[in-house]
Symmetry: C2
């Protein structure tokens, strides 16, 4: 799991501008700020202050608050290839997606990113737009490429809606007993629903009601 | 649809304290404020100001900001009985739940409540706790009463997770083409997944992986 790596990295904040780790330090500070405050109440200025650099350097690296947010969100979605989605049999994609997704939420490194992402998208239009773009490009498109047939993009988005809701119920609202289930259990419970969206017969949906 | 009723009601704000509609006016002001700002940045004082009453009257009616939030959230969940969940055949509960739920999100009267609920719960622990309590008592418990068999509460919560995620994807993040589907279409697409959670065979979940 590549997420674990970050846990043993040295503190990155407060380094001098121009050092190789400066960009990573800015990103880490931004991650923490977005996770704490959400998109609305985070600023480039505060990210700069926390990472000990000038705001102009933050803008140099990331262009804008949106760019910074996008880069932070990207952190949670790196390593997709390593996680085996591409080599997974199509009929196992549902369970694998749930497993990877819950792995993001359970890891101490990526959970704050995921939480910041969800909270910011829930409360801010601009953050929702950034999230939509990133999730489409980095998570949906590769799965779309694996599928054949009709309405593939809609299928992937329906699967995505189940994943978003699972995180809301388990990690944000924390309804029990759902929040108490183990990961393997949840993969078995939710995986088949995700698989139905990806490859199941949705033709009933064309029936006029 | 009882939601439509409110659209022709006269403006309730600015009435004198003690009139029968004062409580409704306070509730309406609170609804608008929570929808605009979310739980964190809403206050009893601002609700009082908007409804033209003294803050002490707001506290008299609702006890606290939590109480006010709970009452507002309750607005979106009234009329459940009228909507036919109780008389719906068990094997049609999935589609009926999706239909009722999307009706709440599509109605001009209740959509702001639903949005306030989701946004506040996403960003504030206390609001999430209030939501958890209300949704459990008013939405989950009645469905639990309709079901037999094992793990009924978990089943209902899994169904709930799909509904939450559907609203996030469609009304908050607005991914397309999911956001462009008609209601009947979505009922057919998502209903069977919700039905699987409620009454389907989840026994695969007991298999040790």
């Amino acid at each position: 799991m590549n997420y674990a790596r970050g846990m043993t990295e040295p503190k990155l904040r407060g380094r001098r501008p121009g050092e190789p780790d400066t960009r990573a330090g800015v990103l880490q500070a931004a991650l923490e700020l977005f996770a704490e405050r959400g998109y609305d109440r985070s600023s480039v200025r505060e990210v700069a202050r926390r990472s000990g650099v000038d705001p102009s350097l933050v803008l140099h690296y990331f262009g804008s608050k949106d760019g910074l947010f996008g880069a932070v969100m990207g952190l949670a979605l790196t390593g997709r290839g390593e996680l085996g989605l591409d080599s997974c049999p199509v009929d196992g994609l549902g369970e694998r997606l749930v497993e990877i997704y819950l792995g993001v939420w359970e890891s101490p490194r990526s959970a704050p990113v995921a939480l910041a992402m969800l909270r910011s998208a829930a409360t801010n239009e601009q953050a929702a737009a950034v999230l939509r773009e990133i999730v489409t490009q980095r998570l949906f498109d590769p799965v779309v490429d694996r599928l054949d047939g009709d309405r593939v993009r809609l299928r992937v988005q329906l699967a995505g809606s189940q994943l978003i809701g699972l995180a809301m119920a388990r990690y944000v609202v924390r309804i029990s007993p759902l929040a108490d289930q183990g990961i393997d259990e949840l993969v078995s419970l939710v995986g088949p629903s995700v698989q139905r969206y990806l490859t199941g017969d949705l033709s009933g949906s064309e029936v006029v009601r």
